[in-house]
């Protein structure tokens, strides 16, 4: 089983690396987006992955800020998840830039009227905060690991290196750091909300695209982040948690209930999103929504999102909410299929010509109002995902993601 997974990963990584090689040598020539549908799979993957990050972080704040004791054990895991997903999200959007080497300009010459500039600065602040908070939250365990003879030499070396030389373990220091973690977590909550709300606002503020230009869009981004991040965290706890004890069962049951609530709230907001413009059938963005529901990609909404990502998880969570594996499956389904929601945000808005007849005015392969990701784009996204998987794998091996005392127990 494990062996098969490794082989699968290696193959996926090799294919992905090929896609990246193509991207670096051939630029954007193999991509399916163009001049009218300008953002495609990579942008969708980016907002999907930053959503996972913000969601995982906001859940970790339940532990550190709101002191939800029963979730305490997953605090560090959630932080780590937030960092990994943010890193790979940035990788995805980096490949999308027309000039990859110029990315630093968003720092050296930012234009603060741009929602994109705000988003970038907010997630930079968020990233720095994540690193600081993770350092403080992990440090005591890192110190313990670096001294623990039961650890492998690599684990000890990495742990020692990551403590950055601060090895004090006296109760006063640890308590002070605990307070600092709480303060950082408290700052992080509005920051994560602003940052991911900002990702939503990046779309919602574009008045040229009525499909995006709606006040509910940033809110949907936030609930989407919580749902998908919550699903991912639930799946990680259910499947990757080492001691399969009573505590594990209780924890997954709790996460499962939380996830159920989030899924249902998201369904409610989605109902609002679709039903209001469609009710009388006359709104300007109505036909794009109908395109999502009944267009050629209807199955993305009905089967992937509503079926696999909403209905089945809801049934699992209601009927088998005490079974950790069922709850984990539900979480995995919610998290994995949420990409369909992101695609359905990014793509449909761009399928409409600004002027009727423009699609026939000057024709060319990149001057079309249609889009499907090319094999090349899928390969690059595969690369991004395999890098994320590798980081998780590494983290689980060399970092004390779960409290040391838990493992001893």
């Amino acid at each position: 089983m494990k062996r098969a997974l490794y082989v699968l990963w290696a193959v996926a990584f090799a294919l992905g690396a090929w896609g990246v090689w193509e991207r670096l040598t051939l630029g954007h020539r193999l991509a399916g987006y163009g001049s009218y549908v300008v953002w495609g799979l990579w942008v969708s993957a980016y907002i999907y992955l930053v959503g996972l990050s913000a969601g995982a972080f906001l859940l970790s704040s339940l532990v550190y800020v709101f002191g939800l004791q029963r979730l305490e054990r997953i605090g560090k895991l959630a932080l780590f998840t937030a960092i990994v997903t943010l890193l790979v999200a940035l990788l995805s959007i980096w490949f999308d830039l027309g000039h990859m080497a110029r990315f630093y300009r968003v720092f050296t010459s930012p234009n603060f009227s741009s929602m994109m500039a705000w988003m970038i600065w907010l997630y930079t602040a968020y990233f720095v905060l994540l690193l600081a908070e993770a350092y403080l939250a992990f440090r005591p365990d890192l110190v313990r690991w670096s001294r623990d003879a039961a650890r492998t030499p690599i684990q000890r070396v990495v742990a020692r290196w990551l403590t950055l030389g601060r090895t004090a373990l006296d109760p006063a220091t640890v308590a002070a750091e605990g307070r600092a973690v709480r303060i950082l977590g408290t700052i992080g909550v509005p920051l994560a909300v602003a940052f991911h709300g900002g990702v939503g606002a990046l779309f919602a503020t574009v008045s040229a695209k009525l499909y995006w230009h709606q006040s509910i869009v940033p809110i949907l981004f936030l609930t989407g982040a919580l749902v998908s991040g919550g699903g991912l965290l639930t799946a990680v706890v259910a499947f990757a948690w080492a001691p399969r004890d009573d505590a594990w069962r209780q924890l997954t049951a709790l996460l499962g209930r939380l996830l159920l609530v989030l899924v249902l709230v998201d369904v409610l907001l989605e109902w609002a999103e679709f039903s209001i413009p469609l009710w009388y059938g006359t709104s300007p963005e109505g036909h794009l929504l109908r395109q999502v529901l009944w267009g050629p990609y209807w199955w993305v909404f009905w089967i992937v999102h509503l079926g696999l990502g909403t209905a089945i998880p809801t049934i699992l969570l209601v009927a088998r909410g005490r079974d950790p594996i069922a709850v984990g499956t539900a979480g995995l389904l919610v998290a994995a299929t949420f990409m369909s929601v992101r695609l359905n945000v990014v793509i449909p808005a761009q399928l409409e010509p600004a002027l009727r007849g423009l699609e026939r005015a000057f024709v060319g392969p990149r001057l079309v109002f249609q889009y499907a990701p090319t094999v090349h784009e899928w390969l690059v996204t595969l690369f991004v995902l395999t890098v994320g998987a590798a980081l998780f794998w590494l983290g689980a091996r060399i970092l004390p993601l779960i409290d040391a005392k838990e493992v001893v127990r």
Binding site: G34, G98, H99, N111, S114, V206, R356, R366
Partner: protein, 307 residues
């Protein structure tokens, strides 16, 4: 030009068909452009030096300035008038010029000469177009009619594409033109989604002659947008950038009208300085049948349409 390859029957059918089409259109566009520039400069010469023998052949479209005494039946070509307007505008400080474009939809015949002239002038690659002519078919057979609407960049006075740029690579110039700094643009394409006219396109680095044995020499020629000399070699800017119509700023600075204006066979496109009350465009934008596209969005376009 490797016309032999272009005439090959089928071996590279997929690649050569667009290529041939491109070379033909490019050639035609360039030729028209040249011819018209010559015509324009001939016609613009003082009337005394060159009595206009050819001018009457071109159908006049506007009354022109009132005849200076005496009967003057020979109507003046609008290009001549606009050329004079342009010269006057260029004598003013740059900050006092207000470039606008007026397109008379009743005169547009939908020939797309402007589109192709623009492609030739700016060496536009596949996927990039600055001024398509949008065609709309109205009615049902047999009562059908067609409407043509050339769509350059509107050079909006309240341009949605400018505030969205994260690095301020796109900006409004004092003369009203919305410009892109190719060396600053990171290629995020946020401005493309923000433009309510789809007036911006993305340069993905392709050439019309990709996949053929040799890149066409035409496609290697430099373009002079914004007065800079760029060849798109090795994926250097403007490859990877947002691109759009800039009213041919480089031609304006050389005293030439934008390529689309010079080549418009229907004399349907007018250009000039709106801050000059004597200019042709000032006259035209004061007409009652003038409108602007999607005005309700508050973008305040600088391209006017006559209905």
């Amino acid at each position: 030009m490797r016309s032999t390859t272009a005439d090959d029957p089928t071996p590279h059918a997929r690649a050569t068909a667009p290529r041939r089409q491109f070379l033909q259109t490019l050639g035609a566009g360039a030729a028209t452009l040249l011819a018209l520039d010559v015509l324009e400069s001939l016609a613009a010469a003082p009337a005394a030096a060159a009595p206009p023998p050819a001018a009457p052949a071109v159908q006049a479209t506007t009354p022109g300035p009132p005849p200076a005494g005496g009967p003057d039946p020979a109507p003046q070509d609008v290009l001549v008038r606009m050329r004079a307007d342009l010269e006057r505008a260029l004598r003013k400080p740059a900050t006092q010029r207000q470039w606008v474009m007026v397109i008379d939809l009743r005169k547009c015949v939908g020939c797309s000469a402007c589109t192709i002239a623009c492609v030739a002038e700016n060496k536009l690659p596949p996927g990039v177009v600055y001024r398509p002519v949008v065609e709309e078919e109205l009615g049902t057979y047999p009562h059908v009619t067609r409407r043509f609407l050339p769509r350059p960049c509107m050079q909006c006075d309240n341009p949605p594409c400018v505030p969205v740029c994260p690095v301020a690579a796109t900006y409004k110039r004092p003369d009203g033109i919305v410009a892109i700094d190719y060396d600053r643009c990171i290629g995020c394409r946020y401005c493309l989604v923000a433009c309510p006219y789809n007036a911006r396109t993305f340069d993905a680095g392709e050439r019309y002659t990709d996949g053929t044995p040799e890149t066409s020499p035409v496609e290697r020629l430099p373009a002079f947008e914004y007065g800079q000399r760029r060849t798109r070699e090795h994926d250097a800017s403007p490859v990877g950038n947002a691109r759009k119509c800039h009213f041919c700023t480089h031609r304006l600075e050389a005293g030439l009208l934008p390529a689309c204006v010079s080549t418009c066979i229907g004399r349907a496109t007018f250009f000039g300085d709106a801050s000059d009350p004597d200019s042709l465009v000032s006259e035209l934008v004061a007409k009652p049948n003038v409108m602007r596209l999607k005005e309700e969005l508050g973008t305040q376009p600088r391209v006017y349409y006559l209905l």
